[in-house]
Each structure stands twice: as structure tokens, then as C-alpha cells.
Symmetry: C2
Subunit: 194 residues, 2 copies
């Protein structure tokens, strides 16, 4: 019977459960999300899910971080300017995609509660961690000052993009992304993140 | 009888209705907001409200813009650096105040709908319009390049603050505000908004 349960254990279970989580979130939203539905969609037992994730919010945080990591890869072009542009353009492309919109809708604060859900903070910390090498390599190449705070630099890169999506309601495109990259690089070179 | 109805007409009606709107929004939230309740709280007839505002969203947009304008004054210190710091610090103070939190909660996109309500766009356009003189005076004083796009400069000033409030969940304070002012000014001087 074990061959009939390919999702019984290992990394495949993790991938299947996380993928099912993102689909469930996209289709039902956060408030109607249940671990039962995820388990059913992933073809695993509910206890298999709870063995790996203590609660639904931990599962959601992991699933969103994995989804964003897959859709917004960390570039390594050999130039910090090109890396920043690629990163900002990937973010813009993701925001403009149906799956990006769906994930963003879950990550946003609910009306009446102006504080981001834990999952959002988790995803953002994960993004910063993954993007650290972009800044480290730029320092090694002498493109920006040593001691540049990578987290501050990455936040400056994405802030103008999120402002437009969340506050001003402007559309975002490659021009927005390139301007954000120029802003972040100019500030780093001026020593604002040191 | 006319002396018994001091709110019957004129600017006082407008002020009373707008103030009542902000209180109603703070106490009940957007979804439970009604023009009936606003009229009752302001001591005017509902038709008086509808004579001035075509619908509840127009009323809300006006009320939020007026409230923000009152709580985040536009500075004129004689120095663009001081003006930007004062503006950013006022924004941070407002975000950290109960009334700021309440207004922000209404302005935020609802979960499942990642686009800001019309009122948010209206408030932000109003903020940009009011802040234009800060940039214009800086250009006149030769502190930043002529041709600097004021809207882009102001958006760059506030973007790092909103990112922390809406996405990363970090607290914001005067240090956040001063860093945002330095970022905006550095970028303007580098010609990024020209």
C-alpha cells in the first residue's frame, strides 16, 4: 500500500501541503481557510500537517514565504544596479500577477486592524534574509560602502512600490522598479544605510 | 427659530458634519458607517448632508482629507531639510496617535481587495497638493534642482514610513522620520525626481 501513498513523508509532503495552502488561501481567503481543506487538497491526513506546523498561521507563513521565494528569485548578475533592477522588476511582475495579488490580499492588514499579520512579517524577514547576498556581493565588489545595512537598503528598494500599490493606487511597472533601484543605490552610495 | 439652529448653514455645518464623520468612522468602522448616524451626531438633517456631498464615499473622502490636513500641518521653516523632517515627524506622530490609527484603518485596503479605497487616493492627492509649496520653496531657495517633481519627492518621503506600518510591522518614530527626510533630500539633490 505504501506505493499508493507517495505523499506519505519527506519533502514531497511539505511541498504538496504548502502548494495546497497557497491555493486554498487564493480561493477562499484567510478567514475561511482551514487545515482540513488543505489536508484534503494535498492528499494527506490532517495530523500530518499538524506534525510539521503547530498551527494554521505557522503553515500560512511558511507557504507564503515559499511562494514568494519561488516567484521572486534573488538575482546575481555581477552588478548591484542590475541586481536591484531585476529584484524590483520581479516584485512588480509578481504584484501584477494573479497569484501575487492573491498572496498580497492575505498579507495585507485587515480593515480595522492597521498592523500586518504575523505571516507578513515572517515573509518580509524571509525576503530580507534571501536578499542579503545581493548587498554583500555589492560591498565585496566595492560598489557600495562596506557597512551598508542590507535590510535598510532592501526596504528602501521596495517601499516606493508598496506605497503605490497600497496607498496611492497607482499602477506599478518596470519604470517604477527602475526608479526604486536608482533610489536605493543612490542612498546606499551616499552612506544613508551605514 | 433660526437662532436655535446654529448649524443650519455655512462653514459650521461643513465642519460639524466632517467632524461627526471622522468620529463615526473611528467608532463604527467603514462597513457600519451611515449618513443617518453622521447627520444625527452633527445635529443636522440628512438632506443637509446630501445637499453637500453626493454620497457617503465623497463625504468620507472629504472628512479624512480635512482630518489629516488638520493633524499633519505643512511646515515652512525656511529650510527644506527641516521642512521634510517636520513633515515626516508629524506623519509619524499622527500614525502613532489613536485618531491616526483610526483613520488609517479606514484608508487601508480591505483584506481580499488589494486596491486602496477611493478615499485613500483622494486623501493622498490632497496631501501632495498641500505639500507642493515645501518643494517649490526649496527650489526657489536653490536647495534642490529646479524641475524636481514634488509628488515623487513627497512619495519618497512617506514610503519608508508606510512600509514599516503596513508591511514589516516595525514601529515608527522620529529616527524613522529623519531617515526618510534624508533619503528624500539626497534623492532630490541627485536629480532622481527631475
Amino acid at each position: 500500500m505504501s506505493s499508493a501513498a507517495p505523499l506519505g513523508r519527506g519533502p514531497k509532503v511539505r511541498a504538496a501541503v504548502l502548494a495546497a495552502t497557497v491555493v486554498e488561501l487564493s480561493e477562499r481567503g484567510y478567514s475561511a481557510f482551514t487545515v482540513d481543506n488543505v489536508a484534503q487538497r494535498a492528499g494527506v491526513h490532517k495530523t500530518t500537517v499538524y506534525r510539521r506546523w503547530p498551527d494554521r498561521d505557522a503553515l500560512i507563513a511558511d507557504a507564503l514565504a515559499d511562494s514568494v521565494a519561488a516567484e521572486i528569485p534573488i538575482p546575481d548578475t555581477g552588478s548591484v544596479e542590475d541586481d536591484l533592477r531585476a529584484l524590483a522588476r520581479s516584485l512588480v511582475g509578481w504584484i501584477n500577477s494573479p497569484s501575487g495579488r492573491a498572496v498580497l490580499a492575505v498579507m495585507l492588514p485587515s480593515a480595522g486592524l492597521p498592523a500586518p499579520p504575523d505571516a507578513t512579517r515572517h515573509v518580509f524577514r524571509d525576503r530580507i534574509r534571501r536578499a542579503l547576498p545581493v548587498v554583500a556581493r555589492a560591498i565585496t565588489r566595492g560598489e557600495i560602502p562596506s557597512g551598508t545595512n542590507a535590510a535598510e537598503m532592501i526596504k528602501t528598494l521596495v517601499a516606493p512600490i508598496y506605497l503605490r500599490v497600497l496607498i496611492t493606487g497607482e499602477s506599478v511597472d518596470d519604470t517604477t522598479a527602475d526608479a526604486a533601484a536608482a533610489l536605493s543605490l543612490t542612498a546606499a552610495r551616499a552612506g544613508l544605510f551605514s
